[in-house]
């Protein structure tokens, strides 16, 4: 090792140690009590939510209700927000919306604040099932915002038949080649292949994952594109005939073209939960808890559900939903029991990297 290189290495190691100690000291500060009497109007709140996944004037409404000056910023995927949360000690975000398995992982990393339930009395409005989800039992780090499942969203006039199996997507009929899209984010890329093969969405078995990966690589040339954000508009425009979609997002397509339908294939799918979490680095934890509590208010969550057309895990809110909506958007009518027939995605610790590698290898195959 030459001298300057060694110096750089030492500097790097020293800085790394510093970062580590900074992390663990933040951990230690986890349990500090929040002040229920804190003057919220003194606090400001930055919330990161998926784009188009909340009522447009949510920030303004919350500000009016509580006096907290609120800014909402957007992310496009779980990976996107997690990369930003982990890239620097303080991302400036107070509340982050992430899927359940990410809430679990971030919580284990000490990046999330434990929720102060005294400040979130509206938790009582949730379905009892929503307090026992495998990724965060007892809702220690997260409160659910919306939930649902994943399936096939399609245009019967273009497919000519009603798909019932993931294989209708993975090995499409010749006339559908080049007319389908799949999700490519996180665990949803592998999910259809795993389910079609009869495996768990949480499998860590190398052979099973390899089999799924081979299937996905075989499917790749038959796809129009991978699409996590605009698949419904590809259906509406007719570029695609059938897409892998989250149930709620299929509704965006149905809103523009009522002939579009959604089906959960016979092999089953996942139960995903999009959650609200409070960052440990937040300087405005009281306001953050107030935000979670505000969302869980039945009236607010009904308003949210009617805006985003996703099911919400709030019993009172779902019961108050406009029946006309259930008529137009059948996925909103999927019952909790039906939902819980699907498999909850959980974080797999170090084994999560297997999925990360599967994704990059499938996507890198040209």
């Amino acid at each position: 090792m030459s001298y300057p290189f060694r110096r750089l290495a030492l500097a790097g190691a020293a800085a790394g140690l510093l970062a580590l100690t900074a992390c663990s000291s933040a951990d230690a500060g986890g349990g500090e009590a929040l002040d229920p009497e804190a003057d919220l109007s003194e606090q400001t709140l930055t919330v990161s939510i998926w784009a188009d996944y909340y009522p447009e004037d949510l920030a303004a409404q919350f500000e009016e209700a509580t006096g907290v000056k609120t800014t909402i910023v957007n992310h496009t995927t779980n990976e996107d927000i997690v990369a930003k949360l982990t890239a620097s000690a303080d991302s400036g975000i107070d509340v982050a919306f992430v899927s359940g398995q990410y809430a679990q992982a971030l919580g284990e990393q000490g990046l999330l604040a434990e929720l102060d339930k005294a400040l979130i009395p509206n938790e009582k409005n949730l379905y009892p099932e929503a307090l026992e989800l495998a990724y965060d039992e007892g809702n220690v780090y997260s409160e659910p915002y919306a939930w649902g499942t994943t399936g096939l969203c399609y245009r019967p006039d273009l497919t000519g038949f009603a798909p019932t199996s993931w294989n209708d997507l993975l090995a499409p009929k010749p006339e559908l080649v080049g007319k389908t899209t799949m999700l490519s984010t996180d665990r949803w890329l592998a999910m259809p292949a795993l389910k079609a093969l009869g495996y768990s969405v949480n499998t860590t078995d190398d052979a099973e994952l390899a089999e799924a990966q081979a299937q996905l690589i075989e499917t790749k040339p038959t796809l129009l594109a991978y699409d996590d954000t605009t698949f419904y508009s590809k259906l509406v425009s007719g570029e695609a005939a059938m897409v892998e979609a989250w149930d709620g997002w299929c509704n965006y397509g149905i809103a523009e073209d009522p002939t579009i339908e959604f089906v959960v294939p016979d092999e089953g799918a996942d139960l995903w939960v999009d959650t609200m979490t409070v960052l440990e680095s937040s300087q405005n934890k009281e306001a953050a808890m107030a935000f979670l509590n505000y969302i869980l208010d039945p009236e607010v969550q009904t308003w949210v559900a009617e805006n985003i057309l996703y099911k919400v895990p709030n019993q009172a809110a779902m019961e108050a939903l406009d029946p006309a909506l259930l008529e137009s958007y059948p996925t909103l009518g999927i019952t909790v029991d039906e939902l819980f027939e699907q498999e909850v995605i959980v974080d797999l610790g170090e084994d999560s990297l297997k999925y990360v590698d599967l994704n990059s290898e499938v996507l890198a195959t040209n």
Partner: protein, 265 residues
């Protein structure tokens, strides 16, 4: 003109055909964007009649306006740093270095892949625990902007008369004084050009900002990127048309200005 013999032979105008084809290629997408910005329909593939309704929406869109504000702050900050550092560097390189190493080093950020700079800086900021924000983008943009300013000022320096500097020194002025009183005024056009280029490049820079921006303070290209990923709305087309309009006006104004200053010489 009247005498056909002395009139220069007309070149074959067919040579202009590829030029026009090139312009069609360059302007067709822009034409589409501009036309669609006046489309009343929300669906980008269907024309439903002329409307100006998307333009007020651009200004009403909080995210876009915030992004625009951030971009202006970043471009101004990065340009300020780069102009000072780049000018000093160019002067230092021209006067005090013999080999090409310092020169190559100073100009390297202009040639290095932006991807490398972006992730390198992200890594550095993460390692030092520096919170991302506008300051991190300003620093990152200042790196490549410094290279461009240095290159342009160096080019200008090559064309100025060194005897004036020598005279100044012979009269007892130190290097700093000579630099401020003699060199700087002569370099001014180069410095202004470098600063303008730095500002322009920063305005539309995406990759480096993508890696170094804070999620809470995105620059305009980052905002547009996340909008485009969810499908372009007519609003984005209106914004693009406005940006184009501002640039055309700026270019024309700059042309006029240079012509004025050029004729006053």
């Amino acid at each position: 003109m009247a005498d056909p013999i002395t009139r220069p032979r007309r070149r074959f105008r067919g040579i202009l055909v590829p030029l026009w084809l090139g312009y069609v290629f360059l302007y067709l997408p822009i034409l589409v964007v501009v036309i669609m910005s006046f489309n009343d329909s929300e669906n980008l593939f269907v024309w439903r009649g002329f409307s100006l309704r998307w333009y007020p929406e651009v200004f009403a869109d909080g995210a876009l306006m915030q992004g625009l504000g951030n971009t202006l702050v970043v471009a101004t900050g990065a340009t300020a740093i780069a102009t000072v550092l780049g000018t000093l560097l160019a002067y230092g390189i021209q006067h005090y270095t013999r080999g090409g190493f310092v020169r190559a080093f100073a100009i390297a950020p202009a040639i290095l892949p932006d991807l490398l700079l972006g992730i390198g800086l992200l890594t550095l900021f993460a390692l030092l625990g520096i919170t991302l924000g506008l300051h991190s983008v300003i620093l990152a943009h200042a790196v490549f902007a410094t290279a461009f300013v240095t290159a342009i000022v160096l080019a200008r320096m090559a064309s100025i008369d060194p005897s004036l500097e020598e005279a100044s020194r012979d009269l007892g002025a130190g290097p700093v004084r000579t630099f401020l009183k003699v060199t700087l005024p002569q370099l001014a056009p180069g410095i202004v050009a470098g600063a303008l280029l730095a500002f322009t490049l920063s305005l539309d820079e995406f990759v480096i900002a993508f890696f170094t921006t804070a999620p809470t303070q995105p620059t305009l290209p980052i905002v547009i990127y996340s909008m485009v990923r969810f499908g372009v709305t007519p609003e984005v087309n209106a914004l693009a048309t406005l940006l184009l309009f501002v640039s055309v006006v700026t270019v024309i104004a700059a042309q006029r200005l240079t012509r004025l200053t050029g004729s006053s010489k």
